[in-house]
């Protein structure tokens, strides 16, 4: 049973004209967005865009220099921690303490009683295949195993709002899949998830809505399909064998791989015109032809490709 945030608003997270500066360096300016109850919200942006700063300000670790950040209409304080599960970007626990004791300690701080915390910790360790590590010191575990323990600390008290800052960082594909399952499971039980990540495939897979930060402001914000529509035109995605010719009168090749490509068709032509030309090309064997919205990855790359110094 998830711990429920009190209040009757659907806005679990509400940022109102939030600004943040470190001295003269403005990180966030006049940012407004909300995360609604029960959704998975992708909070995206290049490194240094201000994602972690926003999260830290939301959780009271930084004092906003302007506007306000609210969780269920209130400024965050640690009394709300029973309803919040936070996986920070700077991860770490007590490295020299046993795994089980550490998990139980944090669960108790999150409001569980000792025996329930112990029961849930053991169940979680069993689920993620670390039951034999319960009495090991954390430092003895591999990086991926420590990540699982950290996630356990985040979700053991079944929070109503999970704030996950790059949760799949340093995880192998198997563990990443496990983590995605856990997030989906929590979401299905009614939890709200605010997900900070660089991995656009995770966003496409999990998120209902996104906000993409650029230069301290919301460059894109809304449902994923709407963002795609808002950001750019549709593309033609093809799979083929043979040789794809350029054709400036009909289209431009925006992405060209040995057996697949993306094409932007010109204003005065239709997708049928393009299909007809490609299908009749003797040197090209067309295996698929799809008109689709650009991927989030495309949008992300497009948005940041001209930004000097960005690390995307």
């Amino acid at each position: 049973m998830a711990v429920v945030l009190s209040g009757n608003t659907d806005k679990v997270v509400d940022a109102r004209s939030f600004s943040m500066a470190f001295g003269r360096h403005v990180v966030i300016k006049d940012l407004s967005f909300s995360v609604t109850k029960g959704e998975v919200f992708g909070f995206l942006g290049a490194n240094g865009a201000g994602k972690t700063t926003t999260i830290r300000a939301l959780l009271g670790l930084y004092q906003p220099t302007g506007g306000e950040l609210l969780i269920n209409s209130h400024r965050y304080n640690a009394d709300m921690s029973a309803a919040i599960g936070y996986l920070p970007e700077e991860r770490g626990l007590y490295r020299n303490e046993p795994v089980l004791e550490t998990m139980v300690y944090f669960a108790v701080l999150h409001g569980l009683d000792q025996s329930e915390a112990q029961r849930r910790a053991l169940a979680y360790l069993k689920r993620v295949g670390l039951e034999d590590k319960a009495n090991e010191r954390l430092v003895k575990l591999s990086g991926g195993q420590q990540q699982k323990i950290q996630l356990g600390v985040t979700i053991l008290h079944e929070p109503a709002l999970m704030i996950l800052d790059e949760p799949t960082e340093a995880l192998d594909p198997v563990n990443r899949s496990l983590l995605m399952d856990i997030i989906t499971e929590r979401r299905n039980k009614g939890a709200t998830v605010m997900l900070v990540t660089h991995r656009m495939e995770e966003v496409e897979q999990l998120c209902d809505r996104i906000l993409m930060l650029k230069d301290g402001s919301a460059a894109l914000y809304g449902k994923i399909d709407a963002v795609k529509e808002q950001f750019g035109s549709k593309v033609i995605a093809i799979n083929f064998s043979g040789k794809l010719k350029t054709n400036d009168k009909l289209y431009k090749i925006t992405k060209h791989l040995p057996h697949s490509a993306e094409l932007h068709w010109n204003n005065n032509v239709t997708t049928d015109d393009v299909l007809r030309v490609l299908a009749n090309d003797e040197n090209l064997h067309l295996m698929s032809f799809e008109v689709r919205l650009p991927s989030l990855n495309d949008i992300f790359l497009q948005m940041y490709k001209d930004q000097e110094g960005s690390d995307v």
Binding site: F22, Y76, N77, A78, Y86, R95, L109, V153
Partner: protein, 420 residues
């Protein structure tokens, strides 16, 4: 809901499990016991050696005396095969010519002039016990004379072993407890200094571990920084108290078993130890406030540093303040009105040790006690506020030190966020 109890439980449990806790706790009593045993054994050995050497020397060496006191009997000299020289110069000549090993000259006014010994140099590896032998010869003879002339065994016993002294002192016409009155309250002073000496490791561990482990962020969003830091401060105090208990328990058991037989310096017996409730209450209050204030200051300063290595260098400077009054202990004990003692009494960082010592030796007036307690209450509160603020801001400064100036600037301008 307060989570202070959980923090204390977790911190105490994990620290008590560490080997470091037991090393730091047991090192002092072990050193004291080992040094005492070695010293006792050495003393016994030296004493036994000395007796053996004296007996052996008196049997083998050729000795001569000139006794102008008349106390040493001829029979005694004969029994020790000691010859008599006619003059001092004759005795000296006999030594110079190697005819005798040593010559003891007892002038008639030996009580004021002392005994003169002339002896062969036997190199640096062996110093014959002629001084002891010369003294024993005279004192044994004196006791024999007293016995013979007065038949007074008490006088002879007094000459053999000095009697113990029981002193009763008065202040303004009222009997005071003297040295015995110091024993109980001085324990608070000793506990404070022990705590100050042992506290640094746990303080550093408590303030920098989360930073070094990068656990601060998740902790500060889970528990209020005030509750966390108060829990940590109290846990350090609990750990200190546990250390004191570990050390005191054997002493208390020893007291329970042997208190009638244990005599402290000055003839104070533990079975008759005076316990003044007011003095003990002042000691307990000052100790508690001093511990809270000191731990708060240490935790505050420790929180400003990114690593335990860096913090340990600076915390020693803070801890030093607890011991500074010891450099002026003569003034603190004997000159309570001296300016330096007044300064140490009211300056928060030196107040606990100064006041606890003055409280024990009885030079602390009631008004000074109240004044200091008031200062320590305020100081302890300020120290806790400083610790909370420093920990809140410093906990996430993973790679750099925060200056005190910067911290107070933040206090003045809360809109200024912490730099990453």
């Amino acid at each position: 809901m307060s989570k202070i109890g959980e923090v204390i439980l977790f911190e105490v449990r994990r620290n008590v499990k560490k080997k470091t806790f037991w090393y730091t706790t047991l090192i002092l009593p072990v050193i004291i016991i080992v040094v005492t045993l070695i010293s006792h054994a050495s003393s016994n050995h030296a004493s036994s050696n000395s007796v053996q050497q004296t007996i052996s020397y008196s049997k083998t060496a050729k000795l001569a005396v000139l006794d102008q006191t008349g106390l040493i009997s001829r029979a005694t000299l004969l029994s020790h095969h000691i010859t008599v020289e006619p003059t001092e110069q004759a005795g000296i000549n006999a030594v110079k010519k190697g005819l005798v090993s040593a010559f003891f000259y007892y002038p008639g006014n030996v009580a004021t002039a002392g005994i003169k010994v002339f002896a062969q140099d036997q190199g640096i590896t062996f110093t014959p016990p002629y001084n002891t032998l010369a003294s024993q010869l005279l004192s044994n003879s004196a006791v024999a004379v007293v016995n013979l002339k007065t038949h007074d065994s008490i006088a002879a016993k007094i000459l053999t072993k000095a009697p113990s002294v029981t002193a009763t002192t008065y202040k303004n016409g009222t009997p005071t407890n003297g040295l015995a009155g110091i024993v109980a309250p001085i324990v608070f002073f000793a506990i404070f200094l022990f705590f100050a000496a042992m506290i640094s490791y746990f303080t550093i561990s408590a303030t920098t571990e989360e930073k070094e482990n990068r656990a601060a962020e998740i902790l500060l969003t889970t528990i209020k920084s005030k509750q966390l830091i108060i829990g940590k401060i109290l846990s350090i105090i609990v750990i200190g108290v546990l250390q004191v208990i570990v050390i005191l328990v054997p002493l208390l058991i020893a007291y329970a078993l042997f208190h009638n037989h244990i005599t402290l310096p000055g003839g104070v017996t533990l079975s008759h130890l005076p316990l003044n409730p007011t003095t003990l209450a002042i000691g307990a209050i000052v100790l508690a406030l001093g511990l809270i204030m000191f731990t708060g200051v240490l935790v505050g300063f420790g929180s400003l540093f990114p690593s335990s290595q860096e913090a340990s260098r600076y915390l020693a400077v803070v801890i030093l303040w607890a011991f500074i009054p010891l450099y002026a202990i003569g003034y603190v004990v004997n000159s309570p009105n001296a300016l330096i003692v007044k300064v140490f009494t009211y300056f928060p960082l030196t107040a606990p040790s100064t006041v606890l010592l003055r409280n024990a030796v009885g030079t602390l007036s009631t008004s000074e006690a109240y004044g200091t307690i008031a200062i320590l209450v305020v100081s302890a509160a300020l120290a806790l506020m400083f610790a909370v603020r420093a920990f809140s801001y410093g906990a996430m400064a993973y790679t750099r030190r925060i200056s005190v100036k910067e911290l107070f600037q933040r206090t003045a301008d809360k809109s200024l966020p912490l730099k990453k």
